[in-house]
Symmetry: C2
Subunit: 251 residues, 2 copies
C-alpha cells in the first residue's frame, strides 16, 4: 500500500502564453503540464494536479484551486517555495495547505467566480492590454447591467456552451451576475456553481454587442428560451477573462 | 527649405522586453528604435523621436512624453492609430497633439515623476510580477517614509548616478519624495526637475535595505554628505520602476 498525502493549492497565472489549463497530448504549453512537471521534479515521482476550473487558452487565473498528492508529507510553505522556483514567471502557487484525502478541487467547489474586463479607451495601456478586451466607446454599462440582473437562477445554459459532451447535464445555477463600470473600464462578474465550456465568453460576447446597441436587450433571454445558437455573437476574446475565485465553504 | 510639423505624444510601455528607451548601435530592441521605425513607415521618411526621460532596460513608462517632426501635417488621432498599429503590444501612443515647433520633450519638462514598487508578499502574483520588486516581509514603510521626507530640496545627487559624464552638472531639485504603503505593497514616489542616470534605483536600493534594518537610517544623508559610493547598496531591480508622469506647465 502506497500512502499519499493530499494538498490543496491556490494558483495564479497570466494565461496569455498558455494553451489553457489542461495538459495536451502534444507539446503545447499548458499550466497543468508545467505544474505537474514542477511537482514531479520536487516529489521525484509523477504527480497529477486537478484544477477547479479548466480554463481555456489565453484565460487568466487569480485564484485557481488545485489538489495533488505527494508520496510523503512535506511542509506546505516548503512545497510552495520549491515548486514556484521550478515554475515559469507566469504561473505561481500563492499558497499550499494540507487537505483531507477526500478533498477534490473541482467536485468540492461550491461556487466559482469569473471576471470579464473591457475597456472603452481609445488606447488600452500596454500593462492592462493582456487582461482587457476592447469595447466601443458607445457601450452602455447601464444597459448591460440591467440585462445581466435578470440572469441569476437555475437554467439550462446549453446554448452558451461550446463543444459540450452529448448527454451531459447543461443546467447550472448562477448565483450572481453584475456589471461594474469605473472610468473607461466595464467589467462583468459571474458567480455560479459551475460553468459550461466557453459559457462566460459566449455571454460576454452577446453582452458587448448588446451594450453598443448591435443586438436587442432581450437577446440573452431569447437565446436561453430558444437555444438557437445562430442568435449568438462571436465569443468575447480570452484575454478579458479571469477565473478570480473558487469557494469551498468552511472546509 | 523643407518644412516640418512637430507633434508631442504620450507613450506607455512595459519595459520588460526592451533594452531601455534609447536606440542602440546594435540590434537591441529599444522603444526609440521601434517607435522611430513605426513613425518612419507612417511618414515614409526617417523620423527622430526625442523622449523626456531615457529609461533604462527593464524600466516601464505610464506617461513618457516624446516629440517628433513629420514632413506634412497629419490629423493627430490618425497618427496615433496608424503608429499604434505598427507598434508591438508592449509600447503604445496614448495620445498625440500638435506642438509648437520649438517644443522639446526633455528640455521643456518642468518635472518628472517616478514610481518604485515593492511587495512584501511571500509570492507576488504573476500579473504584478513584471512591475514589482520583492522586499522582505520585515520592511518598515514608516521608517522608509521618515527617511525620504528629508530628501526634497536642491542637492548634488552625484553619489547616486551611474556612469555620469564627467563635468556635467549633478545638482538636481527633488520636489517631492514619499513612501506609500497599502496591503503588501510599498511604493516610493519621486518628483523632481531631473534625475541622474540610475538615481531612482540607487536611492530605492538603499531605502530597501534601510527599511529592513540592514543599513542605518542616516545612510542616505551620509551618502549625500560624503559622496562615497562604497556606502551604496545594490541598485533596486529595474522591473519595480515606472516613469509615471512628465509635467510641462501650461504649454
Amino acid at each position: 500500500v502506497s500512502e499519499r498525502w493530499r494538498y490543496r493549492a491556490e494558483l495564479a497565472y497570466v494565461g496569455t502564453e498558455f494553451h489553457g489549463w489542461q495538459r495536451q497530448r502534444n507539446a503545447d504549453r499548458t499550466v497543468q503540464a508545467l505544474l505537474e512537471a514542477a511537482l514531479a521534479k520536487f516529489a521525484r515521482t509523477p504527480v497529477v494536479a486537478v484544477a477547479a476550473g479548466r480554463t481555456d487558452a489565453g484565460v487568466h487565473a487569480d485564484g485557481q484551486v488545485v489538489h495533488f498528492d505527494l508520496p510523503a508529507p512535506r511542509e506546505p510553505d516548503r512545497i510552495r517555495t520549491a515548486v514556484n522556483a521550478l515554475l515559469p514567471w507566469d504561473a505561481k502557487l500563492l499558497s499550499v495547505t494540507p487537505a483531507d484525502p477526500g478533498f477534490h478541487a473541482r467536485r468540492d467547489a461550491l461556487w466559482k467566480e469569473y471576471l470579464y474586463r473591457w475597456s472603452r479607451a481609445a488606447v488600452i495601456p500596454p500593462r492592462d492590454a493582456p487582461f482587457v478586451a476592447r469595447i466601443g466607446a458607445a457601450a452602455d454599462p447601464g444597459l448591460m447591467a440591467a440585462v445581466v440582473a435578470g440572469l441569476p437562477g437555475t437554467r439550462d445554459f446549453a446554448v452558451f456552451a461550446s463543444r459540450h459532451p452529448a448527454g451531459e447535464p447543461t443546467v447550472r445555477t448562477l448565483h450572481a451576475a453584475t456589471i461594474e463600470s469605473a472610468g473607461d473600464e466595464i467589467s462583468l462578474l459571474l458567480r455560479g456553481d459551475g460553468f459550461l465550456r466557453g459559457m462566460v465568453r459566449a455571454i460576454a460576447g452577446v453582452l458587448a454587442d448588446l451594450g453598443r446597441g448591435a443586438v436587442p436587450p432581450g437577446r440573452i433571454d431569447e437565446l436561453l428560451r430558444t437555444g438557437d445558437r445562430r442568435l449568438l455573437r462571436p465569443k468575447a476574446p480570452a484575454r478579458g477573462l479571469t477565473l478570480s475565485r473558487v469557494h469551498y465553504g468552511l472546509n
